[in-house]
């Protein structure tokens, strides 16, 4: 008790101010926690094993720069409209020559972030037969999507897409096969395999 009294007596004068400052900073820290940007740097080690790597890092200034070179017609106009309010697009895609080059442990840190506040799972399709996982996570704020994360894991391919900022999923899904880039044929599964082989 004596000790406690002594401690209080010698309490530094600036301590209340520091506590106030801490309280003031708390909302900012919470807001920062709501940022839809995922840390996917842990995947960089997979680049050495991958046969093909696609890495896209476009932050707000780069998006603005890119939008200046989008034309005012058709797909470019749609893309410009889509990225208008975006804060960033981050993509990492690895294609491997053989299976087993990456493990669940590589994806786990990303999934852990997606379990955090703000994120909710929109789609999670896991196919045991094809050993494929397709997951779509969104972050909503006031009823609007402010973040998107797509994880597509196949035996020889792993793709992580992270979009930060307001996004229209409908417009985004319509862009496939446009923008001067050929259709990526991501749905490569033959029709005969389109049986009941998946389980959520």
């Amino acid at each position: 008790m004596t000790t406690r009294t002594t401690t209080l007596k010698h309490r530094p004068w600036f301590l209340p101010l520091a506590q106030l400052a801490l309280l003031a900073l708390l909302p900012a820290a919470t807001a920062r926690g709501q940022d839809a940007r995922l840390q996917i740097k842990n995947l960089e080690k997979l680049a050495d094993k991958a046969a093909e790597v696609v890495e896209v890092t476009l932050d707000k200034p780069m998006l603005e720069l890119a939008s200046k070179f989008l034309k005012d017609e058709d797909d470019d106009a749609e893309a410009r409209e889509l990225i208008k309010d975006m804060k960033g697009i981050y993509v990492k895609s690895f294609e491997f020559d053989k299976e087993g080059e990456y493990s669940d442990a590589d994806i786990e840190p990303i999934l852990a972030q997606l379990k955090g506040p703000g994120w909710s799972k929109l789609v999670d399709v896991r196919s045991k037969r094809d050993r494929e996982t397709d997951a779509v996570y969104i972050m909503e704020l006031d009823g609007k999507i402010v973040g998107l994360a797509v994880i597509a894991a196949e035996p020889k391919e792993l793709t992580i897409v992270n979009i930060v900022g307001p996004i229209d999923l409908d417009k985004l899904s319509k862009l496939e096969g446009h923008l001067g880039v050929p259709h990526l044929d991501l749905d490569r599964k033959p029709a005969k395999e389109a049986r009941h082989d998946s389980e959520k």
């Binding site: 696609v54 896209v56 890092t57 476009l58 780069m62 998006l63 720069l65 890119a66 200046k68 070179f69 989008l70 893309a79 889509l82 990225i83 697009i89 993509v91 895609s93 929109l122 789609v123 399709v125 196919s127 397709d134 997951a135 779509v136 969104i138 999507i145 998107l148 797509v150 597509a152 793709t159 897409v161 979009i163 999923l169 409908d170 985004l172 899904s173 319509k174 862009l175 496939e176 096969g177 923008l179 001067g180 880039v181 259709h183 990526l184 991501l186 749905d187 389109a194 049986r195 009941h196 998946s198 389980e199 959520k200």
Partner: protein
């Protein structure tokens, strides 16, 4: 002898030039020999420029003296600065354009990948739902995707 002939002979008689004639001439055209202090003049063949050399030297020296005039110097310096600034601006514009084009390509790839993977996930959901529930029963996932 006629007086006219005498006059002519007198007029055309050889006369020795004054002793300092050569020195005065050379001094006038700025080519006095280093030994001029002693009153000796270098040999005319060695130091005297040919007429064409004299014209060239004269032009160059005039140009040089014109270039070194303060106004001309400032004008040249300003022009050089303008050229340098223009070169830097053009180089920066080119670099920015290259960056923008690279960013545009990246954007296209990113949007294609995002769109493709998103559609694939939705297609998988719809496919599984069709197989599991032939009746048009909506699951939470489809309801949500449609809502969005």
């Amino acid at each position: 002898m006629k007086p006219l002939e005498d006059d002519l002979r007198e007029a055309l008689r050889r006369k020795e030039p004054p002793p300092d004639l050569a020195e005065r001439v050379l001094a006038r055209i700025g080519h006095i020999s280093p030994t001029g202090q002693t009153g000796q003049v270098s040999s005319p063949a060695a130091s005297r420029p040919t007429p064409s050399e004299a014209v060239k030297t004269s032009t160059w020296s005039r140009l040089r003296s014109w270039l070194w005039r303060p106004g001309v110097r400032w004008a040249l310096a300003t022009a050089a600065c303008c050229v340098l600034i223009a070169a830097v601006v053009v180089a920066r514009q080119r670099a920015q354009r290259a960056r923008a084009e690279a960013a545009r390509e990246q954007l296209e790839v990113a949007l294609q990948l995002a769109s493709g993977k998103l559609n694939r996930a939705f297609r998988e959901v719809r496919r599984v739902e069709r197989i599991e529930n032939p009746a048009p029963a909506e699951t939470k996932a489809t309801r949500r995707t449609e809502r969005l």
